[in-house]
């Protein structure tokens, strides 16, 4: 450690070729723009919404969130006004930044009206990467809440993954967080019937929906879970990502109580199996024999 790194000949050659290509191809580069993405320095962007519980929060009874919860029906989009994803990219309630709109439209979704599963760019389908805290509910897996005095554990059948929500706590400074798929979550109870979860520190790699809505490391997510009756859990998520959207927006959905016990059908994704499925079945389906 501390030694100056010496470029190996192959790397030097590659770097030289790269510089040459850059110089010669300046005109070409203008015709083939670099990939779209969020602003280079997203640490300067301000989040729109406060990070943490409201001042003067009154003590609240603890709502009973017990049960195995599953989505009510297919969830294609993050948009409330375009649940079926027919308007992909033109939803009136999704305030895209230009790069985020372009990124969305460049993705090939695995499901929905624009689906091309055999050539999808979906990181979940292709690489089995974690869905993250928003998109996990787009899949037909169950979720269970384990409510402890100091934290809530959220257990997902999808990939058999968990989240930890620290109750009545604070986030570390965002610059101290190592971005991850599920981020850092704190939470509190409100009004005797709602669990509120506040998350930062996600790595911006997971899609927010089946359609490819992007996020960045600047994402600040606020989830509100309210049990409206014995079999229904309302889930309201506010997406506050100044790296990708011009203002916060909300998405509302409901989870229903499942009659199937939790973990009777865990779902572990396999890249190997997905590749086989795509190669042997989907491609044949997409290109029928002449």
């Amino acid at each position: 450690m501390g030694k100056r790194r010496v470029l190996r000949p192959r790397a030097r050659l590659f770097l030289s070729a790269g510089l040459l290509a850059t110089a010669v191809g300046a005109l070409g580069a203008a015709q083939a723009p670099s990939p779209i993405g969020p602003p280079t320095d997203i640490s300067t962007l301000k989040n729109f919404l406060p990070l943490g519980p409201p001042a003067g929060l009154k003590p609240s009874a603890v709502p009973d969130l017990a049960g195995a919860w599953v989505r009510g029906g297919p969830l294609q989009s993050i948009s409330n006004s375009d649940v079926g994803a027919e308007l992909r990219g033109k939803e009136p309630d999704v305030p895209y930044q230009p790069w985020a709109l372009k990124r969305l439209l460049s993705e090939v979704p695995p499901t929905g009206p624009f689906a091309e599963p055999h050539r999808t760019t979906d990181p979940w389908t292709i690489y089995c990467e974690p869905n993250g805290p928003v998109r996990v509910y787009a899949h037909p897996g169950r979720t269970e809440f384990v409510q402890l005095p100091d934290r809530v554990l959220m257990l997902h059948e999808i990939m058999q993954q968990f989240r930890i929500v620290r109750l009545n706590s604070t986030h570390p400074p965002i610059e101290d967080l190592d971005p991850s798929w599920w981020g850092d979550s704190i939470g509190w109870y409100e009004n005797g019937d709602t669990l509120v979860i506040d998350t930062i520190g996600t790595n911006g790699r997971a899609w927010l929906s089946q359609q490819g809505h992007p996020s960045t490391e600047k994402l600040h997510l606020i989830e509100r879970y309210r049990r409206v009756d014995a079999k229904t859990l309302d889930f309201d998520v506010t997406v506050d990502d100044p790296g990708a959207y011009t203002k916060p927006f909300s998405s509302r959905r409901s989870l229903r109580l499942s009659t199937v016990p939790f973990m009777q059908s865990p779902w572990n994704c396999s890249v190997r199996d997905n590749m086989t499925f795509i190669d042997r079945l989907l491609k044949d389906a997409a290109t029928p024999p002449k």
């Binding site: 554990l153 968990f162 190592d178 572990n268 396999s270 890249v271």
Partner: protein, 288 residues
């Protein structure tokens, strides 16, 4: 069959049937055999050990398993050959022939024979779950959440969990849908947590050396807190599909001063592929 497929199949048949001067008359296909696999009908094999808690189990105090427990990475499931230098020849592993051949056919990611740039390891290549045995071979922390009716085992590796139903029973074996972590029941015995697992899908390696398992595996783990900072795990791997008798293995986890989940480890096939393509291959084939 499409014409191109028919042509390929015909070519393959000719290649397999015809002797070749390069191989002295032995068909090429015979020289590059896949290792044989487990017996076709695993369901007839009997496990060696009972699939339930002992009759007349005495009431036991509940051990305190709280904390963030850090694995001490190990190479092999063999107690006689922990570093993995005797792969395939360990004196304490009684292989079935196919299982030894399978082990030796695997290319390991770590250890004395490691070739990480061409490993066949499903965890390294495909980020497939490690399963309940191998997860402790990775440098991640584990936390136990002890509830009245179950114990949750939380792993930083892949941020995955297991549910251990206390004082429950397994469903009939034939009704289980095999999974990466299987179906686990547990009980407290002599101050230890005992976890009994069946219903594994046989896809994960048992360790870094590529020791296989089958769907017939029956795993028994005993978690004992031997002192404030040490959690011993004694495992009995009972897999009549792959081994002629159970394998026993003990590891010690240590209490970590780093908070649980400060460093979750989610594997990414994309990142691993980039790493292999851009870094490891340069390291393996240095420039002339």
């Amino acid at each position: 069959m499409r014409p191109r497929t028919l042509l390929f199949a015909t070519a393959l048949l000719v290649l397999v049937a015809a002797p070749s001067p390069m191989t002295g008359g032995v068909p090429i296909a015979a020289q590059a055999q896949e290792p044989p696999g487990p017996p076709a009908d695993l369901s007839t094999l009997k496990n060696f050990l009972p699939l339930e808690k002992p009759a007349n189990l005495q009431a036991s105090a509940t051990p305190d398993l709280s904390g963030a427990w850090m694995s001490a990475p190990y190479q092999s499931i063999s107690m006689a050959d922990r570093p993995g230098r005797q792969r395939g020849k360990e004196e304490d592993i009684d292989y079935k022939p196919w299982a030894r051949a399978k082990t030796l056919s695997e290319v390991t990611p770590t250890g004395p024979e490691a070739e990480p740039h061409r490993t066949t390891d499903p965890w390294t290549r495909y980020c497939e779950p490690n399963g309940p045995v191998r997860v402790y071979a990775q440098p991640g922390r584990t936390s136990f959440v002890q509830l009245a009716d179950r114990v949750l085992i939380l792993h930083e590796i892949m941020q995955q969990f297991r549910v251990v139903r206390l004082n429950g029973t397994h469903p009939p074996f034939e009704e289980l849908d095999p999974t990466s972590y299987g179906d686990s029941i547990g009980w407290y015995e002599d101050g230890a947590l005992v976890v009994d697992t069946i219903g594994l899908n046989g896809r994960a390696w048992l360790d870094q050396m590529g020791h296989p398992m089958t769907e017939r595996m029956h795993l028994i783990e005993r978690y004992t807190r031997t002192d404030e900072k040490t959690l011993a795990i004694h495992r009995t791997i009972d897999d009549p599909g792959a081994y002629n008798k159970p394998i026993v293995h003990t590891i010690n986890l240590r209490a970590s001063p780093v908070a649980f989940m400060q460093s979750p480890w989610n594997c990414s096939v994309r990142d691993n592929t980039t790493f292999t393509a851009t870094l490891l291959q340069d390291a393996v084939a240095p420039a002339k």
